[in-house]
Symmetry: C2
């Protein structure tokens, strides 16, 4: 495979899509695949991880930094921007082996042709820096004016977030944006190195928040003029004086020069790929889609800190509030655990470190324990609002219950910690707060348990499961099963108190009556109601599910009066039918395949799949995984490809009314990885060993990949459905 995407020609309608598809990032920042001359109207974003701002009553969202890669050409007095001046030839490329974005554009002017080429990357070696190389070549004596600088007019969904923009010029140019809510400083400095025959450089401070250098010269015929630009970004979350740091860095890296930085960057990527590349012989499409998915996951993995998670739309912008959803634990974590356990630790540590936020959230509802944020931002603050959807008919905000009823989120955290320990063998995370996290999550579910006075099981009422189209249901099977798992994990933790750090163990013993808690959790684990298959082998998704209208997804779709109306909510078209948004029972059976026989798994897959809209990018991979477990790789394959291609293909939901909701789909990408490795390659872990029951798609002749497991690295080769697992 050539590890390269190419998009030929310019089409303004594709700006949003390509911004995601050609994204480059390093876990600290993500830069959308937009062109040098683009501005906020074209959804340019230098999206920063883990730093948020709120303006007024709008959603709190992550900050975009001023764009240090802003540049455009004026030739013979004509502005050459692709939007306004159609190029003769134009393409962009993404080298997704190394996260390098390239553009090539040729314009024809009255006097001749001029070519602009550039390539840029944000460094994997030093997450604060990004560099870009431009080349300008004209086949005539062009009067060239190259304008290049920093654009502080940042694209915001709910901004503007910078109350103040400070410009600075020195050996480099800089912009500092001061954020509204917490007065964060976000400093961007850019230095440059060029071979332009300019007489002077003029610095323009423009009213529209741009600081720009104007470089003017007349070109020789067919001579290539080159400029390298060196950008550094620091915020007040990184250091005390972000501007100083940014300036210093921008100067320093200029001294290193483009090519050395480029080499260091590529080395890092090669090291990353040595763990995460998946080779598939016989199916280039699948191999490319899968590795492209891994590229995105690698681009957004937080390596630079020890406690940060991954947002649901990665670093592709402010969509979904830059918040962390259950996506991380349920869909992305496996990729991290198998390819980069250190990052897996970071994302789980983020949850442990936001336990206080989760306890506060629980308390605000009158609950005990920890109720994790549905949309988690700094400190575990839940960015999810009570009114998440706008009624298309009345334009009124519609009360939704994602925040208050989707209680399965806390169990996802416990599941994440559990899997982290299982795959890494690293118990230290428990002593760093993990044990408390698990206990508090169990306390949360315990407090919610209801029991009929007349007797019976313990039940969980008035919840939303993964399928959000059915609100306020009782005994959602997935939720109850996850609560049961949480109780089990809490009991395990209490049982293993002696293995924890002593100081921490003493703290826990002081804080909790562990004996009593253990008894309660054991009772809860034994008595919680787990919906059972009916006479046809089908598990009801929740109480009364089978009483709902049994109708096809297409019939439900045909009832829409407005293509944008919400399927869920109390009155949505799906709400009173058996049509569901995404895998729910199937997610449960995928996670806990031993709960039922293979026959029951198959029956449930067959029942629920045609009733699933797959309205979430989280759905296809769960169906694919269970299909693999049921021996239906041919059913799994298209779902796998759908999941792996979530960001390759156009056509995802990008706009909700006037609000941009597009972006990359890390959960689908992580899901695709899971299907490849755990589904087709059949990798599983048992008795401290990696095992495999491969069942590759027909076309897949060979599969080769590496896996980290319990502090060791393994090379795995699969051929003829035999797995060769070698420690390296």
């Amino acid at each position: 495979m050539n590890w390269e995407l190419t998009e030929n020609g310019f089409n303004s309608e594709k700006i949003a899509h390509l911004g995601n598809k050609f994204l480059t990032g390093n876990g600290y920042m993500g830069i959308r695949g937009t062109l040098d001359e683009f501005d906020s109207r074209d959804l340019v974003a230098v999206n920063l991880a883990g730093i948020y701002d709120q303006v007024g009553n709008s959603w709190r969202e992550p900050l975009n930094a001023p764009n240090g890669f802003y540049s455009y050409l004026i030739v013979d007095g004509n502005v050459l921007k692709v939007q306004d001046n159609a190029p003769k030839e134009h393409f962009i490329k993404l080298d997704y082996r190394h996260g390098i974005f390239k553009r090539h554009t040729e314009w024809t002017t009255k006097r001749g042709n001029i070519v602009l080429e550039s390539e840029r990357f944000v460094s994997m070696d030093d997450v604060h820096i990004g560099v870009e190389k431009y080349k300008i070549t004209a086949d005539f004596h062009a009067d060239i004016n190259f304008l290049t600088g920093i654009d502080g007019d940042v694209w915001d969904i709910n901004g503007p977030h910078y109350d103040e923009i400070i410009m600075d010029e020195d050996d480099c140019i800089s912009i500092v944006g001061i954020s509204h809510e917490k007065k964060y400083h976000v400093a961007v400095s850019v230095s440059e190195d060029e071979n332009f025959p300019c007489e002077k450089k003029i610095i323009l401070k423009k009213e529209d928040k741009k600081i720009i250098k104007s470089l003017n010269f007349v070109s020789d015929i067919n001579k290539c003029y080159e400029i390298h630009r060196f950008m550094a970004i620091y915020t007040s979350k990184d250091c005390e004086n972000p501007l100083d740091n940014a300036k210093e860095t921008a100067i320093n890296i200029r001294n290193k020069g483009y090519y050395e930085l480029h080499d260091e960057h590529c080395k890092c990527w090669e090291s990353i790929w040595s763990n995460s590349e998946v080779e598939i012989e016989g199916d280039d499409d699948a191999m490319e889609a899968l590795n492209y998915s891994c590229y995105h996951l690698n681009s957004i993995s937080p390596r630079h800190t020890d406690s940060l998670s991954i947002a649901a739309r990665g670093l592709s912008g402010q969509t979904y509030k830059g918040a962390v959803f259950w996506d991380t634990e349920m869909f992305i974590l496996d990729f991290l655990l198998m390819t980069n356990p250190k990052v897996a630790r970071n994302v789980m540590k983020y949850r442990i470190d936001t336990l206080d936020g989760a306890k506060e959230k629980a308390k605000s509802y009158g609950y005990d324990g920890a109720f994790y944020a549905w949309e988690s931002q700094e400190g575990g603050y839940d960015a999810c609002s009570d009114y998440n959807v706008t009624d298309v008919f009345t334009k009124r905000p519609m009360r939704t219950y994602f925040k208050d009823k989707q209680i399965h989120i806390s169990a996802a955290i416990v599941y994440g910690i559990g899997r982290y320990i299982d795959l890494t063998g690293d118990m230290t995370i428990l002593s760093e707060g993990g044990a408390e996290t698990i206990i508090e999550c169990a306390k949360f579910y315990y407090d919610l348990l209801l029991k009929k006075v007349s007797g019976g099981y313990y039940e969980l009422h008035d919840v939303i499961g993964p399928d959000e189209y059915h609100e306020r249901v009782n005994n959602n099977g997935y939720t109850n099963r996850m609560a049961k798992y949480t109780f089990e994990q809490a009991v395990k933790v209490i049982d293993s108190i002696d293995e924890l750090n002593e100081q921490y163990a003493i703290k826990l013993c002081k804080e909790y009556n562990l004996k009593q808690l253990k008894e309660k959790f054991e009772m809860a684990e034994r008595n919680i109601y787990i919906p059972q298959p009916n006479e046809n082998g089908i598990i009801p998704q929740f109480d009364g599910y089978f009483d709902l209208e049994d109708v096809s997804v297409n019939t439900v779709r045909s009832r829409l009066l407005d293509s944008k109306e919400y399927w869920g909510g109390a009155n949505g078209v799906a709400a009173h039918t058996q049509v569901i948004k995404q895998a729910d029972v199937v997610t449960w059976l995928t996670m806990f395949p031993d709960d039922v026989s293979d026959e029951i798994k198959l029956k449930n897959w067959q029942y629920y799949e045609p009733r699933t809209e797959h309205g979430s990018s989280l759905s296809a991979c769960m169906y694919a995984l269970l299909a693999c477990k049921c021996g239906m790789k041919e059913k799994a394959y298209p779902l796998f490809m759908k999941s792996a291609s979530a960001d390759l293909n156009e056509g995802g939901k990008e706009w909700a009314g006037l609000v941009y909701i597009g972006g990359t789909h890390p959960a689908a990408e992580g899901g695709a990885y899971m299907v490849a490795i755990k589904g087709f390659a059949g990798i599983y872990f048992e008795d401290g060993k990696i095992k495999a029951k491969p069942d590759l798609p027909k076309a897949w002749k060979k599969m080769r990949f590496h896996i980290c497991y319990r502090n060791k690295k393994y090379k795995i080769e699969i051929e003829d459905n035999n797995a060769n697992i070698v420690e390296i």
Copy 2:
């Protein structure tokens, strides 16, 4: 007071309203106050009690009988109907002392003036009959054609209900309608007696389901021609051959003649008034409105059977499906108990006899015990649908939860039986199924009780209280309090098993483990959670009520985008505010005034009243009653008048889109009676005695009325807030 309503002039827009206001009825049938020449388009109805029919998937609704009072005049070839031919003079009157409807209309024709007068009543003496007297006088030699017959083209909301219409002519004319669903026969026969100088009578069987006699003669100048018409109605619920019975009766009563029938009828009414008239000296408006309310209640009280209840819209038509709501037990029963205990017994017997329906309903939801119908028809069938409201924006049916979540209905039945026994002293009703009813209702609530596994009270979740604007709430105070009452009553019944009929007691002992049930119910009664006043003395209507937006009724109203949109439901304008539809906590405190101090009652009245839309005619009287208990008769008075005038005044909700939802308001009428007797007159019952704490409105110099209590009748006079209670 003159016991007469008059409406002068004809206005087609008032047809619906006057049809209710001038209704006459006898508990078996109700005839709307429409004119002789009106037909189904003018909402003519001869509404029958307790006989229902369903067509297709539409609501099941009570049958309207063919209209035996259909008549109109043709003079000199011109049809004289008020709608088409504007009268010179026109008025209608209602003698509501005796339930006699009168009309007087004078038309001017080219050759002179002609007057049509009629009066009609449905007999209180024999509920199957109705008679009408017509007088025709012209001041010229008019060529009169009087067309009179039976109109089988019946007004239906969800009909047509008669698959077949059979016409019959003999000594009288008849129509039999055969209903769609259960093939009920509804037979109407009419005979007549007249002094018209007709040469012949022609019988026309018209295609539009009318059988008509055409009586033709030329009138003498100023001579009054009179015709008496004798109608009889029987259905197959009354007898085997309804047509035979109707014909025979129509002939027989003609032999008696109009005046004898009239006298017998009036005697019955006088007897009724001897129990139910309320005299108020000093406030004619109040006295008239109150007695007019009593008139309606008397007109719809089922005296002709021993097991029938009263529909929410009385006998004014098919609105609200002719179904029995909690209105009967909570708002009407007190009037019946104090003025006609026999009818009170009938309505409670109806509930006891529909226990099987209630048990079936409970079973259909997987509950134990008896869950009474929210909209009860024959056999306790719940006519309430899951989709009761149409979304005005999408025109889609909207899922409502009146039927499945308004569990307080069963307690209303128990409350009714309890009050019946308390006020009549008649324990026999327990042995006729009342005991079982109470036990089954208690079993129902017991089965619904939830308890947190972590401990605490018994709770009732996911209900709707009287305030229907807030759906699916937990621990609605009213509901929990009524459940507690139900448990108490059930324990009482079990304790008094020895006082029941021996056979019945044995049956109960066989059917139930009474000892165990008693223990359970005692536990439940002790442990059920009853919301307590907060630091401001206000009782939350349900869990989390105070967290809702606290905003005025007018603000909520101002948010309506469409005047017809529903305030409740998941997304209604009131749903997420503290604005409520009707008395809820206030209903509880009215019913159980000893639960809290007078100060708390007052505080709750003051808190909830301004937050109440009074969107139901059941609201004002509860607020008035509690205002009386709080010593605020001046606040109670306008609410009392609102309640008493519910059917006098125009302006009630009459149409929901294209569906007529108007009709009479028996619950408001019963509520007005409660306010007068239990509020202002301060009547209460203690230690087997009638007692009074009167606090009359200022203008009320004296109040005089009778009350039945424990098989005795009392005359009560109140003056200067002293009550003189004398057994008579």
